[in-house]
């Protein structure tokens, strides 16, 4: 088999995600009363990019066959922190941004340390750390409020040259600066190896712990970038429990839609990004078809349920029943 066919087989999930997104987006745009214009693309990308950052974060952890159920709470915490710090003189704003991103990465690193060095199950451990992060967020913002530097916020949520959404460019920059170098590094390959088979990776002398730790930390950083952008969109910080939980849930949904295997070792953050954009578009489809917004949670739930059930088609390929049990 030629190289490109290997590459294509590896990226199949990602291409599926891109195809689903394009299909949904075309349906969305062709039924939108205002049609295709720069403002609609800007609004859609601003909403989609938030989830895309969180989904990228989740994808990184899922690739190592872990899970981070605190991701939505890191997102909420950094949002609350940014509403305090990212304001004032340009220097203060810059320091604020750095601190917010650092705190995001720190939260991720704590998750990583607890899971790897504490040897705890990621599900329970990250639910517990999520409670801690939410508590801190609530301490920072008992009631919604705060402010953010409007020049920076408008620059990052507006349009470049009148038609390119700045938030999409920011997403692209993050992909180029974080994901591409990571996936091509030794650590990135190690993360995939750990996800495929931790035992085999261990036996081959792959740096398991370092790979996992860096993955969790990067996930925290990406969730922090997401939280920062949320502040840019809303101009406030809010410790909303339901919204934090929803982002955790949606991040998992996006990862699944994006073709990242929940067993680990397969998929890419690019796929997760398109999964996130597709998930957002599906949610918005209801509006262009004039449904009652009350139906949106149910619709999103059903889409999620169908998306995860699709993976069951893999069962048809199984020849030996014992493979059911993994």
């Amino acid at each position: 088999m030629k190289d490109w066919r290997f590459w294509f087989a590896e990226q199949r999930g990602t291409f599926m995600a891109i195809a689903i997104f394009l299909m949904m987006f075309v349906i969305y745009i062709s039924n939108h009363p205002a049609g295709f214009n720069a403002n609609i693309v800007q609004t859609a990308s601003n909403k989609g990019v938030l989830l895309a950052f969180v989904a990228m974060a989740q994808a990184l952890v899922v690739i190592t066959s872990g899970i981070d159920l605190s991701i939505g709470m890191i997102f909420t915490l950094t949002n609350c922190l940014a509403s305090w710090l990212v304001t004032g003189s340009p220097l203060q704003v810059a320091i604020g941004v750095v601190v917010v991103l650092f705190v995001g990465a720190l939260c991720g690193a704590i998750n990583g340390a607890v899971v790897i060095y504490g040897r705890l199950q990621p599900i329970v451990a990250t639910i517990a750390t999520g409670a801690i992060y939410y508590g801190i967020a609530l301490a920072l913002r008992p009631t919604p409020g705060g402010t953010v530097d409007e020049i920076l916020a408008d620059a990052l949520t507006g349009k470049l040259f009148g038609f390119i959404p700045a938030s999409l460019v920011a997403l692209l920059v993050v992909v180029l600066v974080v994901w591409i170098p990571f996936s091509r590094s030794v650590t990135g390959r190690a993360a995939y190896a750990v996800g495929s088979s931790e035992q085999a990776a261990f036996m081959s002398g792959v740096p398991i712990k370092r790979a996992k730790f860096i993955t969790y930390t990067l996930a925290g950083l990406l969730a922090g970038i997401g939280g920062l952008f949320l502040t840019f969109f809303t101009y406030t910080g809010e410790a909303a429990y339901a919204s934090g939980n929803a982002y955790t849930l949606f991040s998992i949904a996006s990862v699944v839609l994006g073709g990242v295997s929940l067993m680990g070792g397969r998929g890419s953050a690019i796929g997760a990004i398109f999964g996130a954009l597709a998930f957002r578009t599906i949610g918005d489809l209801l509006f262009v078809f004039d449904f009652d917004p009350l139906w949106q949670p149910l619709f999103q739930g059903v889409v999620l349920l169908l998306a995860v059930s699709l993976s069951a088609f893999g069962l048809l390929r199984i020849r030996n029943r014992l493979e059911w049990f993994g």
């Binding site: 607890v114 329970v124 939410y134 609530l138 008992p142 699944v256 929940l262 949670p297 995860v308």
Partner: protein, 324 residues
């Protein structure tokens, strides 16, 4: 002589699960701390009140324990609890028949959601964490559509209120009696039936259980059904306690239920754990919550302490083996 006595004590000690012993030790510690903080804390009325509060969590944690013993997890608890509460209250509005059917109907709704979870996990082989998150979202969506996004106006039936707050045995609230019955059934199921032994077997190694002739898929699906039913029963009791259902009333029960089971020494990987441990875990969590509220700790502090305590306890005895 001394040596013989020593070895006997040692053997007696070895019969106790270290996790369960630690959990009971922590309960004693919390009681002492609470007692020094306020003398009311150790009064029988207050402790009975705590037991009553614990019974809701205890019933929900019983279902969660069965799932965790299978090596799975049930994250649909929050909205299954709410569905149980809302659906039973909704049926109450339909006259006498409704009032009679309220409790069974609420529980049946929970069983239905649980069976969907079980079908997904056992037959479609979807990871339990994912499918239960999805059914949780669907249940939430259904309830949002049903209530229109507000708290429903239906109220609980007298039978539900009696079940949650009445007294069949003088001095002992009915909800505690419910928990005792559910607990006794769970112990019987887990230790005295093939179903229970199969749960432990599947939790240890599903492949081995399958090869020894156990219909693992049916067992897993049934266990999820039971778990859903118990979560909904918890919701019915909560609705009876508060005399109505509310949005997001179940949110406060997911983390405590998992924490109670895991703190009680049940391995999160499945296959190991005793019901006594879960009882200890439930009491531990309830006392911790109670002490934090007696100290008038604000919500953020509670969340932080809660998370820290769970992580700390897990680090004490919930760790996986070192890989070699």
């Amino acid at each position: 002589m001394n040596a013989i006595l020593d070895s006997q004590i040692f053997r007696l000690l070895r019969r106790f699960d270290p996790a369960v012993t630690t959990a009971f030790g922590c309960i004693l510690l919390l009681l002492v701390v609470g007692g020094t903080y306020s003398s009311n804390f150790l009064s029988p009325e207050y402790l009975l009140q705590q037991l009553k509060v614990a019974s809701f969590l205890g019933i929900i944690a019983t279902g969660m324990m069965m799932i965790i013993l299978l090596g799975q997890i049930d994250l649909s608890v929050p909205w299954v609890v709410t569905v149980g509460a809302m659906m039973s209250c909704a049926v109450v509005g339909h006259g006498t028949v409704g009032a009679i059917l309220a409790i069974p109907f609420g529980i049946l709704c929970g069983v239905a959601i649980g069976l969907v979870n079980g079908f997904g996990v056992a037959y479609l082989r979807i990871p339990s964490m994912i499918i239960t998150l999805a059914t949780n979202a669907v249940a939430q969506g259904l309830m949002v559509v049903y209530t229109g996004g507000f708290s429903p106006q239906d109220s609980a039936s007298p039978a539900m209120r009696y079940l949650a707050t009445g007294f069949v045995i003088p001095g002992l609230p009915n909800s505690v009696v419910c928990w005792a019955i559910v607990g006794a059934l769970a112990v019987f199921l887990l230790t005295r039936t093939t179903f229970g032994r199969a749960i432990y077997g599947i939790g240890n190694r599903e492949r081995a259980a399958y090869l020894s002739g156990i219909n693992t898929r049916r067992i897993v699906m049934t266990a999820f059904g039971i778990s859903g039913g118990l979560a909904a029963l918890g919701g019915v009791l909560l609705a009876g306690y508060a005399s109505k259902a509310a949005q997001s009333m179940g949110d406060a029960y997911l983390l405590p239920a998992i924490a109670a089971v895991v703190l009680g020494g049940t391995s999160i990987l499945g296959g190991r754990g005793s019901y006594l441990g879960t009882v200890a875990g439930v009491m531990l969590i309830t006392l911790l919550q109670s002490i934090l509220s007696v100290m008038q700790m604000p919500e953020f502090g509670r969340q932080i302490i809660y998370g820290v305590v769970i992580i700390a306890m897990l680090l004490l005895y919930g760790r996986e083996k070192l890989q070699r």
